[in-house]
């Protein structure tokens, strides 16, 4: 029970990787705040699963790109839990990964970049600003930001999405430098293609086969593959690790 008496906020946790991460923390005894934007029923289902896994969980609605909503969410966490040990910035702007019909650079308007930067970077920025006072008072905390291995290896050029995640990695490294002296660690987990999730459900077998052929561990990641590295970076086991990006893609990227 690595997270007994620990409080964890997972953004975008009503489905996919976020839901898997929330359940994994709950299974280790944590009190998990399951953040969602609009899928209340899905979030409640995750809460139920968390409780079934042996932890405590609370569904908490907030659009993470809206500073006021985030402030209100963190105020509620402070009131209900009195502390916050871990934040997993998992929420991201809706995106369809479709290699067959992807938008090429000359077709990509700046607005698409802006939307992804808001979804990846602004959301993380907003949540980090809001949770910082809680973490600083106790002089400890772990922030885990979800990136992608496409930054290191753009197997398929999703310009707007990957550029925003690249910015997120740069953001995380600077934050790690600033917050290290305050006892707070900041790291990224960069999965490869994770299947199945809502965003990847339509991925064709040919694409998967192409990735599998180049992946030393010979398969595509599942949401559960991502949870271990996230929990590791959130726990004392990685107490001397900060500013890192941990690739979770079966060895497709080695760095």
């Amino acid at each position: 029970m690595k997270f007994r008496d620990r409080t964890i906020l997972v953004t975008g946790a009503s489905r996919g990787i976020g839901a898997a991460i929330a359940k994994a923390f709950a299974a280790e005894g944590g009190l998990v705040f399951v953040n969602y934007r609009s899928s209340e029923a899905a979030a409640e289902a995750v809460v139920e699963a968390c409780r079934a896994a042996g932890g405590q969980a609370v569904a908490i609605a907030a659009d993470v790109t809206d500073p006021e909503a985030v402030e209100a969410m963190v105020a509620r966490i402070a009131e209900e839990a009195g502390r916050l040990d871990v934040v997993v910035n998992n929420a991201f702007a809706p995106y369809v990964f479709d290699p067959d019909n992807r938008v090429r650079f000359w077709e990509t308007p700046w607005a698409s970049y802006q939307a992804q930067i808001d979804g990846a970077l602004k959301a993380t920025y907003t949540v980090c600003q809001a949770v910082l006072p809680l973490m600083r008072q106790r002089g400890r905390g772990a922030i885990v930001n979800m990136a992608t291995d496409l930054v290191a290896r753009p197997s398929i050029a999703y310009h707007d999405y990957t550029t925003a995640k690249a910015a997120l990695i740069g953001f995380s490294r600077n934050l790690a430098t600033e917050l290290g002296p305050l006892g707070i660690r900041v790291n990224c987990v960069a999965p490869g293609l994770v299947w199945p999730t809502d965003a990847s459900r339509g991925t064709r077998e040919a694409v998967k086969d192409m990735l599998i052929a180049q992946t030393p561990l010979g398969r595509i990641a599942t949401p559960d593959d991502v949870t271990g590295p996230v929990l590791f970076l959130a726990s004392d086991w990685s107490g001397f690790v900060t500013g890192q990006t941990l690739h979770v893609d079966g060895g497709l990227v080695m760095a």
Binding site: R136, Q137, R138, G139, R140, P181, L182, G183
Partner: protein, 483 residues
């Protein structure tokens, strides 16, 4: 492991009753045998030391005493020397300070007593150190000579390793027959040092003794107080008052009571580049000897107006303490010590509930505690063992009225400020009773020749004999060669 404390010239081990003190820390234990002398033994020992000092120590040139102490210190500084290895092995168990703290602390401290530094001690107090060897011409005419005590009694306290050496060595420099009473918290190093001196110069070894009696044993203490002509005593004011009341009125009594050290940081020192390293130095002073030293900081005054606020600086110090908890862990506290710390913390937490300007940083389970308050608060002792209160002030000028009411407890203050501000605050702190102003990171390592509690280490111990110019001139009249 059994270790014998003390140094008893002219007394065989078998003639003495020994009592065992048990120490345990860091998963190891050690039993220290301390001597319990009978009244007759104590009186005989005092006489032995006094006689030998008269016959030998007082005839040595001070330069030779310096050379001998230098040799003894060199042995303790040598990591491979058996005495030093013993000190590194046993003192962490006895004092509870972690090995690295003991090793680094000892090496830094012992360097204060090498020959050049001892010359500094002498030069600080005597315009001409030869005054300890022979009559020297005086500026006003005539000649003067300084004599150390016949029998100097040291009563040491606390458990900071080797603290006893400061006054022990001061006494030897003025050629005093020396009796040192070790504290139960660190009963070893003074005795080891005496034994090393005896190995280097056996006759010198007959001129000092290291003894022990149970604190509060009025009968034993009374015997020694009656024998000594000068008494240097460390401890709380209550204990010191008791000693003073029992000491003969003819004895010179030099007390060193408990002190409360503090730090003051100017806004000019608090930019985003320099605040971090400064916080590390503050934390270093806090962890070294768990704030047990008279010079240790117990409160920190931080000026507003820098790029880094007092609250942010408190956070940085708290984090540095977190780091030191890994590299220099705090020993396990006794129940009484732990409850003292947690009472201090929970009092502060209670007060923080309805005071928005008061923050208790970290977790209750952390082996350190930093509290930050935004309203002025007067100097007060912390709960020791890495507990520190950071008080925000508008400027360093505001610090003086917060510490001035506690003059009897003032001694060391660390100041981080630009030169003009340093001298301005030093002027006012000095007037308030602070006797030592140092840099952060150095609070627990006073420099050689430091005037402990603002007094003279050597000058306070001696008496001056003057040949007035009238005697000199009159003598001329009695010379055989007079015309």
């Amino acid at each position: 492991m059994i270790e014998r404390a003390g140094h008893l010239p002219a007394l065989a081990v078998g003639e003495v009753e020994w009592r065992e003190l048990d120490f345990a820390a860091w998963g190891e234990s050690v039993q220290v045998s301390v001597p319990v002398l009978g009244a007759a033994q104590a009186r005989a020992l005092a006489e032995h030391v006094r006689e030998n000092a008269r016959a030998y120590l007082k005839t040595l040139p001070v330069a030779q005493i310096v050379a001998t102490i230098d040799k003894a210190i060199a042995r303790l500084l040598d990591r491979d020397d058996p005495w030093r290895r013993k000190a590194d092995a046993i003192l962490p168990i006895v004092t509870g300070y972690d090995r690295e703290t003991v090793r680094l602390g000892l090496s830094g401290y012992l360097r204060t007593f090498r020959a050049p530094q001892l010359q500094r001690f002498l030069a600080e107090d005597f315009a001409h150190p030869g005054i300890l060897d022979a009559f020297q011409p005086a500026m006003k005419g005539g000649f003067t000579r300084a004599y150390g005590p016949e029998l100097l009694l040291h009563i040491w306290a606390g458990n900071v390793p080797g603290l006893s050496l400061w006054s022990l060595i001061s006494g030897l420099l003025v050629k005093a027959g020396t009796i040192g009473k070790v504290a139960s918290g660190e009963p070893l190093l003074a005795g080891w040092f005496a034994q090393i001196l005896a190995e280097i110069d056996p006759k010198l070894g007959e001129c000092l003794a290291i003894v022990w009696w149970q604190g509060g044993d009025v009968e034993s203490e009374g015997i020694w107080l009656a024998e000594a002509d000068t008494i240097v005593a460390y401890g709380g004011n209550e204990a010191l008052t008791a000693i003073r009341d029992r000491a003969p009125v003819t004895a010179r009594f030099l007390p060193h009571g408990h002190k409360i050290g503090f730090g003051a940081i100017s806004a000019a020192a608090l930019d985003t580049r320099r605040a971090g390293p400064l916080a590390r130095l503050v934390a270093h002073d806090v962890i070294r000897y768990e704030q047990q030293g008279c010079y240790s900081p117990q409160m920190l005054f931080v000026a507003r107006g820098g790029r880094v606020s007092p609250r942010e600086f408190a956070e940085l110090v708290s984090q540095e303490l977190a780091r030191f908890a890994h590299t220099h862990p705090r020993r396990a506290l006794s129940v009484a010590e732990a409850s003292g710390v947690s009472a201090w913390r929970s009092t502060e937490e209670m007060r923080a509930f309805d005071a928005p300007g008061r923050v208790v940083l970290g977790d209750a389970g952390d082996p350190w505690s930093v509290v930050c308050v935004e309203t002025a608060e007067a100097l007060a002792p912390s709960a020791l063992y890495r507990t520190l209160k950071v008080v925000a002030v508008d400027s360093l000028d505001d610090v003086v009225p917060l510490v001035a009411p506690f003059r009897p407890f003032l001694q060391s203050a660390a100041v981080a400020a630009p030169p003009r501000e340093l001298f301005a605050i030093a002027e006012r702190l000095g007037a308030a009773g602070v006797t030592r102003i140092c840099a952060f990171g150095q609070m627990t390592a006073p420099e050689a020749g430091w005037h402990n509690d603002g007094r003279f280490n050597l000058l306070d111990l001696v008496t001056i004999t003057e040949i007035e110019s009238t005697a000199e001139h009159a003598a001329d009249g009695f010379a055989g060669y007079v015309d």
